[in-house]
């Protein structure tokens, strides 16, 4: 080979390599994505765009809708050191539980984490290692039927007592008018993690604490918490169908979106689905922060949200990390916000005009999203699931009428003391 052509070939090679450094050897990855609402399709689109840019191929694995079941699946995979999934979508409460199985992403992030909400980055940092990148954040919000409230001349409720009264009034009036299927308020009442989120909001609204406080002391048995749970217990059978005791997010949305509920507590993802073309309630829905508990209570919303983490057992950790950085980038989070109302974790996007035009309540509820109340997962660490399970069972017992709030919370305190004695 002549020197000149050799140099040319080398130049082509170098240019090609620098243009697509990762395409040099195409890798097969797999990512686990949630499948709640439009989540899976959205994840697929983001992944395909990354594939087109890099030449790698990615299998999208859908996971159970229930967070509790999803965690169980992950724990079995990770405890066995399975290489099957490279990128995991993990809940905001899991970095402490699963962190040991994930790599430190800060070596690949190139400082990108600085643009995200600091509270979430702190949440995802375990012993100084960035175990996951924030993908979207969440806070519980209140959906209401604007058309029905206007029709019956009611304001959007400020307190849970208002909500109870308004829901009853609108429901009774609509039923009298012939709509037999309508209910006042639906939420997540199944005995699972979602009920912990909902019930924590009731407690927090009444300034009844967060089950376990920042020092690890059990605070759940207090008069404000009793008030909150007593009110919630009074809903079932009155303004809430008894079936709510087995509803998760999608079941509640099913009832609300078919036009069979006046109010719904859910995460922001339900906004774009409620306003999709085939939705019977398109354009009739409003979103506000969850009400206060009485006049001296506070607006609330439980912090939710999902992160992306790379498995320690992955065969291609650096390529997987590149996928994570792509999916959590400004561009991709903006697309997800506009298309399906998933809350960005980058503060700047809440000032982006296109985002605000698509999801107006992102601007109004900015404070709710940044000040959402966190579940006590950090302080209880590996015991969090036990705490949460004991709490949702207590709440479930009150909702189903098997126990009153006073005795349920006293029993819960006893059970949590037992858990704490084994250390958290």
């Amino acid at each position: 080979m002549k020197p000149a052509s050799f140099a040319a070939a080398a130049a082509v090679f170098v240019a090609g390599a620098s243009a697509a450094p990762l395409a040099a050897e195409a890798a097969d990855l797999s990512i686990s994505c949630g499948a709640v609402g439009a989540e899976l399709a959205l994840c697929e689109e983001g992944v395909r765009a990354w594939e087109a840019e890099t030449g790698h191929s990615v299998t999208v694995v859908s996971t159970p809708n229930s967070t509790t079941e999803r965690l169980a699946l992950y724990q079995q995979l990770l405890a066995a050191g399975a290489k099957d999934i490279d990128v995991f979508q993990i809940d905001v409460i899991w970095p402490g539980i699963l962190g040991a199985h994930f790599i430190d992403l800060s070596q690949y992030s190139d400082g990108a984490e600085d643009g995200h909400f600091p509270a979430i980055i702190a949440n995802n940092t375990v012993d100084g290692a960035l175990k996951a990148m924030p993908w979207y954040t969440d806070a519980g919000v209140l959906y209401y039927r604007r058309d029905l409230l206007e029709k019956h001349g009611r304001d959007v409720p400020e307190t849970w007592e208002d909500l109870t009264e308004t829901a009853k009034l609108v429901m009774d009036a609509e039923r009298a008018a012939g709509d037999d299927d309508i209910w006042g308020f639906v939420f997540q009442g199944r005995a699972y993690e979602g009920l912990t989120c909902d019930a924590l909001e009731w407690l927090h609204a009444y300034r009844g604490g967060t089950i376990v406080d920042g020092n690890g002391d059990i605070t759940v048995n207090n008069p404000q918490a009793v008030r909150a749970l007593d009110l919630a217990g009074s809903w079932v059978g009155e303004i809430t169908p008894e079936g709510v005791l087995n509803y998760a997010e999608e079941e509640a949305r099913g009832v609300f979106q078919s036009g069979n509920a006046v109010f719904m507590r859910n995460w922001p993802y339900a906004w774009s689905l409620a306003n999709s073309d085939d939705s019977p309630i398109k354009g009739k829905v409003g979103v506000v922060a969850l009400p206060k508990g009485g006049e001296e209570g506070q607006y609330t919303g439980t912090l939710g949200g999902w992160q992306l983490a790379v498995s320690r057992y992955s065969a291609n950790p650096e390529i997987a990390a590149d996928l994570v950085m792509y999916l959590t980038s400004y561009k991709e989070q903006k697309r997800r916000a506009i298309k399906a109302s998933y809350n960005p974790t980058i503060a700047e996007l809440y000032r982006d005009e296109e985002v605000l035009a698509a999801v107006p309540f992102f601007g109004d509820l900015y404070d709710t999203f940044t000040n959402a109340v966190a579940r006590p997962s950090r302080v209880t660490g590996e015991k969090y699931n036990r705490v949460s399970s004991a709490f949702w069972n207590a709440a479930h017992n009150v909702l189903s009428g098997r126990s009153d709030a006073q005795s349920a919370l006293a029993a819960l305190e006893g059970e949590l003391n037992g858990v704490k004695r084994r250390g958290w």
Partner: protein, 321 residues
């Protein structure tokens, strides 16, 4: 009836073949052991080893997040004065009670219904082969699929069961079958009975088909009423087959997991011992404590099986007639 049962239970043991101490018989024993060895090894690997490991883990503080690293804690998982342990956990005893209640009610219903179906299928009528095949469909559908299917049928807002009940005027308002604590267990039992009655019917039918026809001919000649024939002839004769079927079903129900987990998740209204053990093992990552629950589950099932065999005077593996 009891006499007849005794008669069959006391069926003469088969005479043992081969003399003692002869070279030929020792060679036979050796080759028998040789042929048995693979099965013994496989049984040990797939059943014995996991069981021993579970029992071992129940005496440790192993955690799912780091399973290789654990310490021996004695019987702390079962009972201790500091945080109680399994035996002082009210939720565990609720789960034990739920399991026993579920097993008793569902197996009783399945036995009665299975017997009726088997008797019907034992009669010659045109198209019997087709009906026999059709009746097995609920049993053939994978449990997860049928549980999901029933989950939708039992749904409080969109379920067809409520729709049917309301249209026919049987229900005043929709019932939240799987959600309400009053009906959750009932719903689970209904689905289980629907699913496993065919299995029961099949086993009983097999027993019925082997009954000698001379008893029936004698009864017919004597002009005995059919109901009396059933209680005096059929039931005593088919009793061993029914007991084997009951034990199979009871063993199966005592470890029920999938149906209940799909229909009602971790709800305490229907939580069984298996659901409890899984929650401890996986959701709470507490392999030690969860293994203790699994060990207790094993002991309870073993004890109940022994009790049923003793009280019911069943000869497993004996001549069914």
């Amino acid at each position: 009836m009891a006499e007849a049962a005794n008669l069959h239970a006391a069926a003469p043991e088969r005479a043992r073949t081969g003399g003692e101490g002869s070279e030929l018989s020792r060679a036979k024993v050796r080759s028998a052991l040789l042929f048995l060895a693979p099965m013994v090894v496989v049984l040990f690997l797939v059943a014995g080893w996991p069981l021993i490991r579970t029992i071992w883990f129940s005496f440790t503080d192993a955690s799912l997040s780091d399973i290789g690293n654990y310490g021996f804690v004695g019987v702390d998982n079962f009972y201790n004065s500091e945080w109680g342990g399994l035996l002082s956990d009210a939720n565990w005893w609720t789960a034990v009670w739920n399991t026993l209640y579920f097993t008793f009610v569902s197996v009783s219903l399945e036995t009665v219904l299975g017997m009726i179906v088997a008797l019907a299928l034992n009669v010659k009528f045109p198209g019997r082969g087709w009906v026999r095949a059709a009746i097995l469909i609920p049993w053939a559908i994978p449990t997860i699929v049928s549980a999901k299917m029933w989950g939708w049928m039992l749904h409080d807002q969109f379920g067809m069961l409520n729709d049917l009940g309301m249209t026919l005027g049987l229900l005043a308002e929709p019932v939240a079958w799987t959600a309400s604590p009053d009906t959750a267990m009932l719903a689970v039992i209904i689905v289980d009975v629907w699913k496993t009655t065919p299995f029961m019917a099949l086993l009983i039918l097999a027993g019925l088909q082997m009954l000698p026809s001379d008893c029936y001919e004698a009864a017919r000649v004597d002009g005995v009423h059919p109901v009396r024939v059933f209680f005096k002839v059929t039931l005593p004769l088919v009793y061993p087959a029914v007991m084997v079927a009951v034990i199979f079903r009871a063993l199966d129900s005592l470890r029920i997991f999938d149906l209940i987990y799909v229909l009602t998740s971790n709800s305490q209204d229907t939580m069984t011992m298996s659901v409890y053990a899984r929650q401890q093992l996986v959701d709470f990552q507490d392999v030690g404590y969860g293994s203790a629950a699994s060990t207790m589950l094993f002991l309870i099932i073993a004890a109940l099986t022994l009790a049923t065999i003793t009280i019911g005077k069943v000869k497993l593996g004996g001549d069914p007639r």
